[in-house]
């Protein structure tokens, strides 16, 4: 009886080892060091939509932070040379599926009762921190689409509370996040697979560490929608993809 089990175990163990080894081999990440990059600018044509001012009189802590510099909505931010800020660029087609999540741990800060950055791009499973610098309690309430598989949460962060550290389990473009105590506070999490980038105030971006290959790049803007472009990246060099969104 006993030896029977031993024999079975002896058969199962090597099989297990083999499977594990195979899994490790298969999951070997694409070595990104030798990869190229995708770069470009995102611009807005036509007139920029009017960004309303925000009245924070409800909470004196917030309104005080904007005494000299009145707060405005950040849905469409146009910088110098019509560059569009806060556009997220990611690879929507052509990925091998073996990309490792970025190891950086970005911060999503609550500052002056606004979200900084307004849009935070993330990889699936990439950790990020939610911090607060305000002397008022915020609640952070991301509202993912229930069908996408991410679970929403709603947590308050009193002043000086430790950062909330978490990550998203599934790809989702994009998850709105809001503060109920300060209803004007509004931001986005953009959760993608593979390399990504966010435009700066001039509208320029660079997606680093893209292995050689053909891809579809998608540019996502919260109000203006998405645009795509096909690019081919050669090893060690930079491909270019520019986008122009039309103002409404």
């Amino acid at each position: 009886m006993k030896s029977h089990y031993v024999r079975k175990l002896a058969a199962v163990l090597p099989a297990l080892v083999l499977v594990c080894a195979g899994a490790v081999l298969l999951s070997q990440k694409v070595n990104a060091a030798g990869g190229g990059s995708i770069t470009g600018t995102v611009k807005l044509s036509g007139t920029a939509p009017h960004m309303k001012g925000i009245d924070m009189s409800k909470d004196p802590v917030c309104s005080k932070a904007h005494d000299t510099n009145p707060a405005k909505m950040e849905n469409v931010l146009v910088g110098s040379g019509d560059g569009l800020e806060n556009v997220v660029l990611y690879i929507s087609q052509g990925l091998t599926g073996n990309e490792a999540p970025s190891s950086q741990e970005p911060t999503f800060a609550q500052k002056g009762c606004m979200y900084t950055p307004h849009v935070l791009a993330l990889n699936v499973d990439q950790k990020f921190k939610v911090t607060t610098e305000d002397q008022t309690t915020h609640n952070i309430h991301p509202l993912p689409d229930p069908t996408a598989g991410n679970i929403g949460w709603n947590k308050s962060q009193p002043p000086a509370a430790p950062p909330i550290e978490t990550s998203w389990k599934n790809q989702e473009v994009a998850i709105p996040v809001k503060c109920n105590i300060h209803p004007w506070m509004h931001g986005w999490f953009v959760v993608v697979k593979g390399p990504y980038a966010t435009t700066d105030d001039k509208g320029s971006y660079t997606i680093q560490n893209v292995p050689a290959g053909s891809y579809t790049v998608t540019a996502w803007q919260e109000d203006l929608g998405t645009q795509t472009a096909k690019v081919t990246v050669a090893a060690g060099s930079a491909a270019k993809a520019d986008f122009t969104f039309k103002g409404k």
């Binding site: 947590k155 000086a160 509370a161 105590i181």
Partner: protein, 594 residues
């Protein structure tokens, strides 16, 4: 005893196994003690929760060591978040209202003493009685579970106003699974209490011993009888309300959720529900519930006072009629909780008058108590001190009712700390004083040992002063417009009031700590107290005619026969200045004709 009798006791002899004796016992006395134990656990939980709340209110940014043990996410850095404060507040109220104020004065003492008072061997349906406790216990466990499921217990307050309670998790932490668990637990609790009423009412009506007419029932039994009638008609309304609430959550119906609600920028998939419907159903239960908490206390206090005054009440019947009037009126006044809820303003006026009317039976009860003190030979012991404290608390809580009964004044005081003070004095503290009074009085009978009276007196003094220090200032906060259920005071005009809150918090911590004296006294006396004689207080009702603690079938196989009204004190009998109900002795001056 006849083996074919339907009498409960006939069905079960004394159990021998531990489980049948102490766990799934059919004996009403064991069930009473089980209820008492459940209440004790719940009151400790409720008190700890109230401490946490009070500390946070007084020193909002101050970390409370160990708070993270209570909630994984609710207390980052041990500082309470707003949602966790509300969750704690909701659970404090729920545990206190349901599992302490309903369970102890009514279910615990009632179970233990009602059959003895009526001269019965047991409740009429011992199996239902056992189920009554165990369903309540399940309800308690389910409620406790909500701390550990999802994002914690519900934050909607014990009143669970819809649609906050009915739209689901989108409305805030705990509003998804938390509300479902809350409503399930309360529905189960209702079943348990209905089982209780199913035993209490037939016991009083059908199982009275020979000679025990209705008017010969002692005061607490009258109170429990009236309370069980109230429980019967109010818990059977709360349960359907909970079912509707659960259906709104899980089945997508729209009983309580109106059309076109937008929460977090999401249009809610409900239509046409009535927001006020929940409030109507809830308060139809909720107001009688207040009397379910307080009326047994009135009965217990009357019982304790009479025994310690050594003279009968001015009028037994007036007290009973007044309690009955409270019970009947309690159904007609529930609308005073909704004066500014958006009811038709005319209904607010209609509800205002019966509410004012309730002051009359309440006043009669207080006056009968005070009037009875006239010419008494009052004994001072822990039980009578708490009974006197009860009267003082009830007066204080009662007069604030003058204000809240008037819709025009509610414009100023609705949902302020004035209301908090009012209901804590009446239903919470007065009822707790009734519980303490009953415990010191009946402990010898329930556990066969005497409690330490000196410790009891100390407990009374510190508690009496403590609760006034906690709740009296809340009236002032309310007058100054301090809204309740705030986790921090960010409103400008409330800033000067924070000092008062700090005073209240210190008083609350002190008063809470004082309860350790009681717990020590309770545990110590339970095991090492002086053995209790049969009738330590020279009482007259039937519980004092049996050994302490009473035997399995209460009367040792005999059927008691009652010859007198319950409170024959101040007479000259062979036993002293009192005449027991079951004593056939004839004494000059004793009232024994019903």
């Amino acid at each position: 005893m006849h083996d074919t009798s339907t009498h409960a006791a006939a069905h079960h002899g004394p159990p021998t196994s531990f489980i049948r004796k102490h766990v799934f016992s059919l004996d009403h006395k064991v069930i009473g003690k089980q209820y008492y134990g459940l209440g004790l656990v719940a009151v400790i939980i409720g008190m700890v929760l109230s401490w946490v709340m009070r500390i946070h209110l007084a020193w909002t940014a101050y970390p409370i060591p160990g708070l993270h043990l209570l909630s994984g996410t609710g207390a980052p850095g041990n500082v309470m978040t707003p949602e966790f404060y509300l969750q704690v507040m909701t659970m404090h109220a729920t545990f206190m209202v349901f599992f302490v104020l309903t369970v102890v004065p009514f279910a615990a003492f009632g179970n233990f003493f009602l059959p003895i008072h009526t001269g019965a061997e047991d409740m009429p349906f011992p199996h239902f009685n056992m189920m009554s406790f165990w369903t309540t216990f399940v309800a308690f466990c389910v409620m406790l579970l909500s701390f550990f499921v999802g994002d914690g217990p519900t934050l909607g307050g014990w009143t669970q106003y819809a649609p906050l309670s009915a739209v689901g998790a989108v409305a805030g932490p705990g509003q998804g699974s938390g509300v479902i668990i809350w409503a399930t637990s309360i529905a189960i609790f209702c079943v348990g209490q209905l089982f209780g009423a199913l035993n209490f009412i037939p016991n009083v009506l059908d199982l009275r011993c020979k000679g025990m007419s209705m008017w010969r029932l002692p005061m607490p039994t009258w109170a429990w009888f009236i309370t069980s009638c109230m429980g019967l008609t109010s818990f059977s309304v709360l349960m359907p309300a909970c079912i509707l609430l659960i259906l709104d959550h899980v089945a997508g119906t729209s009983f309580f959720v109106a059309s076109n609600l937008v929460i977090n920028d999401q249009l809610q998939p409900h239509s046409g529900g009535s927001t006020l419907l929940w409030q109507h159903l809830f308060w139809f239960f909720g107001h009688p519930e207040v009397y379910i908490a307080i009326v047994p206390g009135m009965g217990i206090v009357s019982h304790v006072l009479i025994t310690n005054m050594r003279k009968p009440m001015l009028s037994h019947r007036v007290l009973v009629y007044s309690m009955g009037a409270l019970a009947v009126l309690s159904y007609m006044v529930y609308g005073h909780h909704m004066f500014v809820s958006g009811m038709n303003p005319f209904s607010s006026l209609v509800f205002s008058f019966p509410t004012l009317l309730i002051t009359i039976p309440s006043t009669v009860i207080v006056l009968v108590w005070i009037g009875s003190l006239y010419g008494a030979k009052l004994r001072i012991n822990a039980a009578s001190l708490f009974a006197l404290g009860f009267i003082s608390m009830f007066i204080t809580g009662g007069v604030s009712g003058f204000f809240l009964a008037q819709p025009s004044i509610q414009i100023l005081l609705h949902a302020t700390y004035f209301v908090v003070a009012h209901f804590h004095f009446t239903m919470a503290i007065a009822a707790l004083f009734g519980i303490f009074s009953g415990t010191y009085f009946w402990f010898p009978k329930m556990w066969g040992r005497m409690m330490n009276d000196n410790l009891g007196k100390l407990h009374f003094w510190l508690t009496f002063i403590g609760v006034y220090a906690i709740f009296m200032p809340m009236h002032y906060l309310g007058l100054a417009g301090n809204v309740r259920r705030y986790q921090a005071f960010v409103v400008d005009y409330m800033q000067p009031l924070v000092g008062v809150h700090q005073f209240i918090t210190i008083a609350a911590l002190f008063t809470g700590a004082v309860q350790l004296i009681f717990i020590y006294n309770f545990i110590h006396s339970r095991f090492w107290g002086e053995p209790a004689p049969e009738n330590p207080w020279q009482g007259t009702s039937l519980e004092w005619s049996v050994p302490s603690p009473p035997p399995h079938d209460n009367f040792g196989g005999k059927h008691p026969v009652v010859y007198h009204d319950p409170y024959q004190y101040g007479v000259q009998s062979s036993t002293g200045d009192y005449l027991m109900q079951d004593s056939p002795e004839q004494v000059k001056g004793a009232q024994d004709e019903p």
